[in-house]
């Protein structure tokens, strides 16, 4: 999932906002803050704040500092949208609505149970609940789920979503339902519907994590008739057909979304979502600092991006106990790290020298410090992801200031005792990443490794520069700053795109280290065919250790964010799979 980015202009206002933070007083006269609560800092990480099933006639207001990539559940890859679409959609499976590790469990939503694999785990069968309705009152059938999957193949019309179905299903040449509609609607042969409540996915090879794939919003059912005319294809985003507790009332592009109650939604068939308010309004393109102030002044209820408050609000919240009690600072599940390219720096000892020499404390400070920047990382898999196992191969935790002696030793083994020169790529429009790159450069300098900073705009970072291996080789980019959040919270979701050899592509490459190790590839293949969850989970730390053993990734911090919860909102808690509060269950006091 793609975490929302703060635009460069947010930084523009940061200076002013910082200066003004002190002028802000005690948070003003807002009703929210004056009505002091008894909640404590971080309480939302492990328990539900203001638990309630009481409906309210109010309007729940979300503010968003940018815009969704799409409101079409088959065409979105933003983390906050995967969370938000659950308000107007149901998937075959979803994540259990509960705080902590409990929330990482997959549970049936539209389906009656988890997938049943057969035929050497290449056929996955799901049965659909019989009485689930669309917003127009029509009953959801397996054919509607199949049509939803078919839409994900129409990449020229719906380009944003992930490509799991194209990669995993047998007939990956299927063009989608929009060309030659008479032939292609229901023309995807690798998804079959033996009856109205049964759907089968035929994979080209075993894939044990398939339940996670059908929990992605792309498995939302769609009626073919809805996907035509005014709301067809690219325009579907203007009014996605709802199966969730709310439905679209209006959507003014780039400005505002309004949802109202879906009268045909039934709480008994959808236990993971709630319908507690009359209306939900999403204000788009709101200045990031204004979002924070709106939250604290009770003009808004939720910061939809879920990436934490800005610098000005951060200092205000952390210094005022009344506000601090309304905040949480979770590990978001996102890793900040540096790729160390195995082709540009082929000698493992040279790469290990980088791992040892990096001053993790100064890099952590660059990311915002231990409270809101993140915890110093020593593994690729973060602690909130299934498969995490703590280890510290390069003394990141025991010597966070850098192990200079070990680094020099590795340089000798590498045959370059006085160091070497390489490029260090980073994104210029991300101030913290710039600072992290500079901190890394300074710490490497101590052992004679000269890292030449090479800044690029984030829009083309993966397509043209760091994510284009030919460019990386030609420009000697041995190190590239990066960040990663998983599509689902287990080792496959986290590691595959970073370290599986078959993911290396000429443009848009996310395996920037160019890890193509037989033993790692083999472990991924083993995991794909391993149905036993415990056995599969045991594979992820093995891959993690191999990546670290290759010194192909320098983990920097397990990202933490500072989230503020409006005390008027009910059922608030941090939801691990999405790295933010769970939007599907919110209500108002």
């Amino acid at each position: 999932m793609i975490r929302s980015k703060i635009t460069g202009l947010a930084a523009l206002g940061a200076t002013a906002a910082l200066t003004l933070a002190a002028c802000g007083g005690s948070g003003g006269s807002s009703g929210s803050n004056s009505s002091s609560t008894s909640t404590s800092y971080g309480q939302g990480l492990t328990s539900i704040i203001n638990p309630s099933n009481t409906p309210s006639s109010g309007t729940l207001t979300f503010d968003l500092s940018n815009t969704p990539d799409s409101t079409d559940y088959q065409n979105t890859y933003y983390a906050f949208m995967w969370n938000f679409v659950r308000l107007y959609s149901m998937q075959l499976l979803t994540y259990k609505s509960c705080p902590g590790a409990c929330g990482e469990q997959l549970v049936p939503q539209l389906a009656t149970g988890p997938g049943v694999p057969s035929n050497n785990d290449t056929v996955w069968t799901y049965h659909i609940k019989p009485n689930v309705k669309f917003e127009n009152g029509h009953t959801v059938t397996s054919a509607d789920v199949k049509y939803g999957v078919e839409r994900t193949f129409a990449k020229s019309v719906l380009p944003n979503g992930p490509s799991y179905y194209q990669v995993l299903l047998k007939d990956n040449k299927y063009p989608g339902p929009y060309t030659d509609r008479a032939k292609n609607v229901m023309g995807l042969t690798s998804v079959t519907t033996p009856n109205a409540t049964t759907i089968q996915f035929h994979l080209s090879q075993p894939f044990a994590d398939f339940d996670y794939v059908v929990a992605i919003p792309q498995s939302t059912p769609v009626e073919p008739a809805w996907d035509t005319g005014k709301y067809g294809g690219a325009n579907f985003q203007l009014h996605p057909e709802s199966t969730g507790p709310y439905e679209f009332q209006s959507y003014t592009l780039n400005k505002q979304i309004t949802l109202v109650k879906n009268p045909n939604w039934n709480a008994s068939t959808d236990t993971e979502a709630k319908q507690l308010v009359n209306k939900i309004v999403v204000n788009l393109n709101v200045n990031a600092n204004t979002v924070d102030n709106n939250l604290m002044s009770n003009y808004a209820d939720i910061d939809m991006a879920g990436t934490g408050v800005q610098t000005a609000a951060r200092s205000k919240i952390l210094t005022q106990p009344s506000l601090k009690g309304l905040a949480d600072d979770p590990i978001s599940g996102f890793l900040r790290f540096a790729y160390i390219n195995t082709k540009v720096i082929p000698n493992v000892h040279c790469r290990e020298a980088i791992e040892y020499a990096a001053n993790k404390t100064s890099i952590q400070d660059a990311w915002g410090g231990p409270v809101v920047g993140g915890d110093i990382a020593s593994t690729v898999i973060p602690p909130t992801v299934i498969g995490y196992q703590k280890f510290d191969l390069f003394n990141a935790l025991s010597q966070p200031g850098g192990d200079i002696a070990a680094a020099k030793q590795q340089l000798k083994l590498c045959g370059k005792p006085s160091g070497f020169t390489t490029g260090l790529a980073y994104r210029t429009d991300r101030p913290q990443e710039v600072a992290a790159a500079q901190a890394l450069q300074a710490s490497l300098q101590q052992v004679g490794i000269k890292a030449n900073l090479q800044g690029y705009l984030s829009g083309k970072y993966y397509t043209d520069f760091a994510g284009a291996p030919a460019y990386v080789h030609a420009h000697d980019l041995g190190i590239s700053q990066g960040g990663w959040g998983p599509d689902w919270p287990d080792g496959y979701g986290f590691l595959d795109e970073l370290s599986n050899g078959n993911t290396i592509v000429p443009a848009g490459n996310t395996n920037i280290s160019e890890i193509n190790d037989k033993s790692i590839n083999s472990l991924f293949a083993t995991a794909a065919g391993q149905n036993n969850t415990a056995a599969r989970t045991a594979i992820w730390p093995q891959i993690d250790k191999k990546i670290m053993g290759m010194a192909a990734i320098l983990p920097e911090v397990y990202q933490k964010v500072l989230l503020y919860r409006n005390p008027n909102v009910t059922n608030v808690y941090f939801d691990r799979p999405f790295g933010m509060y769970n939007y599907a269950v919110l209500g108002l006091k």
Binding site: M1, I2, T7, L9, L12, G13, A16, L20, C23, G24, G25, G28, S30, N66, T67, D69, Y77, K155, S156, V157, L158, P159, N160, G161, P162, S163, Q166, V167, P177, Y178, R181, D227, T228, G229, G232, G233, A234, N235, Q237, N254, K255, N283, N285, V286, N287, T290, N293, M296, S297, Y299, G459, K460, Y462, T463, D464, E497, V505, A507, G508, T510
Partner: protein
């Protein structure tokens, strides 16, 4: 006079065509000359970890694989005749002036632009009235009371207004009047929906924007007035025994306002094209905020659209100023 206006209009059309050509070259041609391929360009408009077929599909859909001149021709054709886009199961006609099809939102650019114009117009018009009235008035009084405390105070304030960036004064205004005292909640409402709420939502942006410009105009008016009031014809007017008010307003201010009018036309044209910082600070969904979003998304058709629209407004504002000039000074027509 009519010939003059027609001549200016024709020049304006040519100018807009030139602007479109240059903008197109900047965003479409230069990246290619720098080595960017249509494939890598298309890769920016798909989700994370795209498979190659996904990128190819977008490359073809957006016409990026076609020669640059074909793409430009299609763009100009769309402006003149409109264009039909495929939205999947159906085809959508984008009537002229169709300024392209957004690569991010997959919607025609023109309706998105027009939906933002009322916000920007509301902001620019209200602020312009405030700054013109206050700026000129302060400038005149300062000039007439040169060296007094009023003059020093007003010019000091004007210096502050020019020096302080809008994102700073705007944040202060928001923090005090919106969040601390909760007098103005800046949630824009259309003037036709509720004129009172419309005005209430715009008070802070108007004042913030006008603070900058009125400071500038006060200084300009002051220096213009000081220069004019020392002219021989002012002395002659006084010698003729004209009342001081007539001397100041009819002879002094009128002459001093001529350069102000020119600058006002340009400023207003620029603002109507998008008051970027003000709209961003106050989260007003006008052309300025639309521009930021288009740039952030690297949405080239949207950027093209907003540049052309802004250029159009500036050209029109210049045209009006030229016409007004011609009215004031007939020599300009020749």
């Amino acid at each position: 006079m009519i010939t003059f206006i027609i001549r200016r209009l024709l020049v304006s059309v040519l100018l807009l065509l030139l602007v479109s050509l240059i903008t197109f070259a900047i965003f479409f041609l230069i990246p290619r000359l720098a080595g960017q391929t249509s494939y890598s360009l298309a890769a920016q408009y798909v989700g994370r970890n795209p498979i190659p077929s996904q990128i190819r599909a977008i490359e073809i859909k957006l016409g990026l694989n076609e020669p640059i001149w074909v793409q430009y021709g299609r763009f100009v054709k769309g402006i003149v005749f409109g264009y039909t886009y495929s939205s999947g199961p159906s085809r959508t006609y984008c009537p002229p002036p169709c300024l392209g099809y957004s690569w991010r939102s997959q919607q025609p650019v023109w309706p998105q632009l027009t939906s933002n114009i009322p916000v920007t117009l509301s902001l620019a018009a209200g602020a312009a009235v405030i700054w013109l009235v206050s700026g000129v008035a302060i400038g005149v009084v300062s000039a007439l009371k040169r060296g007094t405390i009023f003059d020093r105070l007003s010019m000091g304030t004007a210096l502050m207004g020019v020096s302080l960036p809008i994102f700073f004064t705007g944040q202060i205004a928001l923090l005090l009047f919106s969040f601390k005292w909760q007098i103005f909640n800046v949630q824009y409402v259309g003037i036709t929906q509720n004129p009172l709420l419309w005005a209430k939502a715009l008070v802070l942006p108007w004042i913030t924007l006008a603070f900058l410009y009125s400071a500038l105009y006060a200084r300009l008016t002051r220096s213009g007035m000081l220069e004019t009031m020392n002219e021989d014809y002012i002395r002659t007017a006084r010698a003729k025994g004209l009342p001081e008010r007539t001397v100041i307003i009819k002879h002094g201010l009128r002459a001093a306002l001529t350069p102000i009018l020119t600058i006002f036309g340009l400023d207003l044209g620029l603002l109507v094209g998008g008051a970027v910082l003000t709209e961003y600070t106050f989260s007003l969904h006008g052309l300025g905020l639309f521009t930021i979003q288009a740039i952030g998304n690297s949405d080239l058709p949207e950027i093209m659209g907003v540049v052309l629209l802004a250029a159009f407004f500036i050209v029109i504002a210049n045209l009006i100023v030229d016409v007004l000039y011609a009215v004031v000074d007939p020599r300009v027509r020749h």
